[in-house]
């Protein structure tokens, strides 16, 4: 994928929060949605990369995270562009995942459904706690379960930036002065060399 295209669409948000060049030094970026069209092979490629580049003990948890975070783009974002970045430094054991889109954002989606919230950070926290814009039984688990898996299972870092809301596990949550028109989810973890049963963290 063209690095320039990625920087053109999402450069500002990466510049503010994540060092893109470092991410791409050990990783790859994939378009999931490009110019309003789904890139069907995007997620399949992501899973191939996970199998090739990450240790086997991490596959299930990464499959789960990628599955939930990418399906969120499909279900909620109405985006033009959606990108997944996967990075793993084999020497240090540090893995990073970024899922980012330029869609309606979490506060934008809540507003459309007339779901009330105090401010954009509140809307992000509500989404992470399980509030969904969809009415069917059993919705709203994607972000909340992903957060729990990262925090308690991987002992990693989890950050969501959407609208003006910035939610972090490690570090202070905050409000941006200028909104990000989309949603970014960032996961960082260090491979502990232990297996992880994801189901212990998903109930």
């Amino acid at each position: 994928m063209e690095r320039n295209e990625l920087k053109k669409i999402f450069g500002a948000i990466f510049e503010e929060f994540i060092e893109l060049n470092r991410l791409l030094k050990f990783g790859q970026s994939l378009f999931l949605y490009r110019k309003n069209e789904e890139v069907k092979e995007g997620v399949e490629k992501a899973f191939k990369i996970i199998k090739q580049e990450f240790p086997l003990r991490l596959h299930n948890v990464l499959f789960y995270l990628i599955g939930e975070l990418t399906d969120n783009i499909s279900q909620h974002s109405h985006c033009l562009s959606g990108v997944l970045v996967l990075s793993f430094d084999k020497k240090s054991g540090v893995g990073e995942i970024v899922v980012v889109d330029d869609g309606v954002s979490i506060p934008g989606a809540f507003e459309k459904r007339k779901i009330g919230f105090k401010d954009d950070l509140d809307s992000v926290e509500m989404a992470i706690s399980g509030k969904s814009t969809k009415k069917e039984k059993g919705r709203g688990f994607g972000l909340s379960s992903s957060r729990r898996l990262v925090e308690e299972g991987l002992k990693g870092d989890f950050m969501v930036v959407s609208g003006k809301g910035v939610y972090r596990i490690k570090g202070k949550s905050s409000l941006l002065s200028k909104p990000f028109c989309g949603t970014l989810v960032y996961v960082r973890f260090e491979d502990s060399a232990k297996g992880l049963n994801i189901y212990e963290y998903l109930e």
Binding site: V43, F47, G67, E68, D71, S74, K135, E136, G138, L202
Partner: protein
């Protein structure tokens, strides 16, 4: 549900590859089963190594409303665990 030799078997690997990830993929799949409405089907999960939580949720929803008697076979332990997890979550959830 008893399996008879006359029941149609669909090998999901031919539709999905080894991974089932998105709700949309499940919706499209169940839409393609319209001709089996009021009938019975066996869905063979042989070769499906992972199914996402969202996909399972959509699968269980569609299975309930599609009007087809569906039997799943050859689920790996990983896939089975995801089905059990989501089924429990749906049982415990409250409709809004």
């Amino acid at each position: 549900m008893n399996i008879s030799n006359n029941m149609k078997v669909i090998e999901l690997r031919k539709n999905f590859g080894s991974l089932i990830i998105t709700r949309k993929a499940i919706i499209d799949f169940f839409d393609s089963l319209a001709e089996f409405s009021d009938g019975s089907l066996i869905l063979d999960f042989e070769g499906i190594e992972f199914i996402s939580r969202s996909a399972v949720h959509e699968y269980l929803r569609r299975k309930t409303i599609c009007g087809i008697k569906v039997k799943e076979i050859n689920l790996t332990q990983n896939v089975k665990s995801m089905f059990l997890l989501v089924a429990r979550q749906m049982q415990n959830a409250v409709s809004v």
